[in-house]
């Protein structure tokens, strides 16, 4: 499967947008503008972009505490996202959710999640609903390497497997669960090998190669749409920041961090590949950068100018009432 020039530019723009959002988020956290910490996705952009680019609007995703990238890739509004981080009434959740719970349910985003592993059973339920209704949507369930040790994950993958549900389990293996190396948390070298225990295919790709991620995601998605059930897709990657914005990540060797940033930057490498192959000029890329940066500034200004979340209506939404 060959990607067209436009597709490549789209993927590049998407990755760049995600990074620009996260960098702006980091700056606003540093200035004390956000109301909580952020779990930044910087360095992992190729996974959200590669996996979500080809999804349909009606397809579902479940996301994680490190979820901004998934939301942006699914088409979430950047202004409403920033507004949520800044605790504004115009935020996606009116200031009730924050970074870890931003969602746009209308776009099929069934929650980011603050609990590691909790999205997996929810993804299975959405997958069941698709099958129940006889539709051909799919669910992409994103999770980190730390999730592989949770009971929720095991229960969910098993259930998806026995019922052949259209769920793709996308493992973003960034090598650390906060400070604990995956080597200390799992005896397998390749996490995708876990799939054998559930009788489903396991695929491991370079999570910093957006085209490789995209190819694997399309294969898994087609399989799921065809009624053949789930796939475990491991994408190996690295987070540039610590676990969250208040973590300097000093538990990781400096050399390791440096090599991932300098040699395996998914955005820089993809740009170089396209320029080297004469598929795009540096001028075109610069124009994309300018446009996205402007888009980010505009979105952030919208958030800054918005009213703070309304304390008067604080209990709204604890229970749904039809009068709302």
């Amino acid at each position: 499967m060959q990607a067209t020039k436009q597709e490549k530019i789209d993927l590049y723009t998407l990755m760049y947008r995600i990074r620009a959002f996260e960098e702006k988020g980091f700056v606003s956290f540093s200035k004390g503008l956000t109301h909580g910490v952020l779990h930044l996705y910087t360095g992992e952009e190729a996974i959200a972009a590669g996996c979500i680019y080809d999804l349909r609007k009606e397809d579902y995703i479940t996301s994680t505490h490190r979820g901004h990238g998934h939301l942006i890739a699914k088409g979430a509004d950047l202004g409403r996202m920033f507004a949520e981080l800044l605790g504004k009434e115009t935020g996606y959740c009116h200031g009730r959710g924050g970074s870890m719970h931003i969602a746009d349910v209308k776009l099929g985003i069934l929650g980011a999640n603050g609990i590691v592993g909790a999205g997996a059973p929810i993804a299975v339920g959405a997958g069941f609903a698709i099958k129940y209704k006889g539709l051909d949507q799919v669910v992409l369930c994103f999770f980190g390497d730390g999730t592989i040790a949770t009971g929720a994950f095991h229960e969910a993958v098993n259930m998806a497997s026995i019922w052949k549900l259209p769920v793709i389990f996308v493992c973003e293996n960034n090598l650390y669960g906060i400070s604990v190396s995956i080597k200390k948390a799992c005896a397998l070298d390749t996490l995708a090998d876990r799939s054998a225990g559930y009788g489903i295919p396991g695929v491991c790709v370079d999570g910093n190669d957006v085209l490789a991620v995209r190819k694997a995601a399309i294969e898994a998605t087609e399989r799921a749409r065809g009624g053949e059930g789930p796939t475990f897709l491991e994408c190996q990657t690295y987070r540039w920041y610590g676990h969250f914005t208040a973590d300097d990540g000093k538990y990781r060797p400096e050399e390791e961090v440096k090599s991932w940033k300098e040699e395996r930057d998914p955005i820089k490498n993809f740009a170089k590949e396209m320029v080297d192959n004469n598929e795009v000029t540096q001028q075109e890329l610069d124009r994309i950068h300018d446009e996205v940066n402007e888009e980010i500034e505009k979105a952030f200004k919208f958030a800054e100018k918005s009213d703070p979340a309304d304390v008067e209506n604080m209990v709204r939404g604890v229970y749904y009432t039809s009068a709302q």
Partner: protein, 324 residues
């Protein structure tokens, strides 16, 4: 009026709601072919088939999580957790996911999930199959908690719970399944959540209780009547939302209150009701509020031991006499 068993009232409610709304389905352990360990889902598989009556693996977390995911994707699941003691296994999905999803997302999605379970002391089921854990669930904003005592209430409240757009913890009692009571035939009645029922009118003292303790308290009241004590019995039916108005009216009438529950005393829901009465009707009290509850111990196995741990008509009578 015809009389049916409590468990038949449950299965009738499920059958009627499944006929009424094709989005309603049942998911749980042994709910299909086996009809549930207490036969509350008997014969539903034959009518509705395996796509709407789902036997699951032993995966409480995934049962509740899948129920939530399916609800977010438009279905109206009735999940069964075989014993309330097992809700601990699913507590993240109940308390962090189902209860909070609507609020955290700023009201973007509804969570019409019913979790049917059962609790209470039966016949020597010992410490892990006999608990009354309603207070775990009433403590979580976002959940509703329902505990019916009669077949009539069980049917009407379950139908209301299935039609509710919030997560409902519906706790049956294992010793009530075989009790009989009048339930009208071909009558699509529902009982709104949050309406207590005066099971017996009286002048001298108010007993506030729920679930099987309603039956024990009625027996006690009938004995006390012979001794000239006229008991008013308030069955709260739903702990959350709680019908405080009915409770306060009765307190204002009698001036004396006993709260009876099968859960152990410390942290039990009786303490919450007592506090509400003190906050709202202190001047009407002629005596301290008394609680007749289980001892603060795990439920033992031997019948003479568990019989000494939980309330019964004799201990309720003793409690009333201490106040009169």
């Amino acid at each position: 009026m015809r009389k049916i068993k409590y468990r038949e009232a449950i299965s009738e409610a499920l059958r009627e709601e499944m006929n009424r709304d094709e989005r309603v389905f049942i998911i749980g352990e042994d709910v299909g072919q086996f009809g549930g360990v207490f036969q509350a889902t008997a014969n539903l598989l034959e009518t509705f088939g395996p796509s709407r009556v789902l036997d699951t693996p032993i995966s409480e977390q995934a049962i509740v999580g899948a129920a939530l995911g399916s609800a977010l994707a438009g279905l109206r699941p009735v999940a069964e957790i075989m014993f309330v003691d097992f809700t601990g296994l699913a507590m993240d999905q109940i308390a962090n996911q189902c209860a909070k999803f609507h609020f955290m997302t700023g009201g973007q999605a509804i969570v019409p999930v019913v979790i049917r379970t059962q609790g209470g002391v039966g016949f020597g089921d010992a410490a892990q199959h006999s608990q009354s854990l309603e207070a775990w669930h009433t403590h979580i904003p976002g959940l509703k908690v329902v505990m019916p005592s009669t077949p009539f209430d069980a049917k009407g409240l379950l139908k209301a719970s299935i039609r509710d757009d919030n997560p409902v913890i519906f706790i049956e009692h294992k010793l009530l399944y075989l009790t009989e009571g009048p339930v009208p035939e071909n009558d699509d009645y529902i009982i709104p959540l949050g309406k207590a029922d005066i099971k017996r009118e009286g002048q001298d003292i108010t007993i506030i209780t729920w679930s099987k303790m309603v039956l024990d308290s009625l027996e006690a009241a009938n004995e006390l009547e012979k001794e000239g004590v006229d008991v008013e019995l308030v069955d709260v039916r739903t702990l959350k939302p709680l019908d405080l108005d009915t409770i306060l009216q009765s307190v204002k009438k009698t001036g004396k209150v006993i709260i009876v529950h099968e859960a152990c005393k410390t942290g039990g829901f009786g303490g919450e009701i007592a506090a509400l009465i003190v906050e709202n009707a202190f001047d009407y009290l002629d005596a301290p509020i008394k609680r007749v509850t289980a001892l603060d111990t795990p439920i033992p196995y031997a019948s003479q031991l568990y019989g000494a741990v939980i309330p019964n008509p004799d201990t309720i009578i003793k409690g009333v006499k201490e106040l009169i």
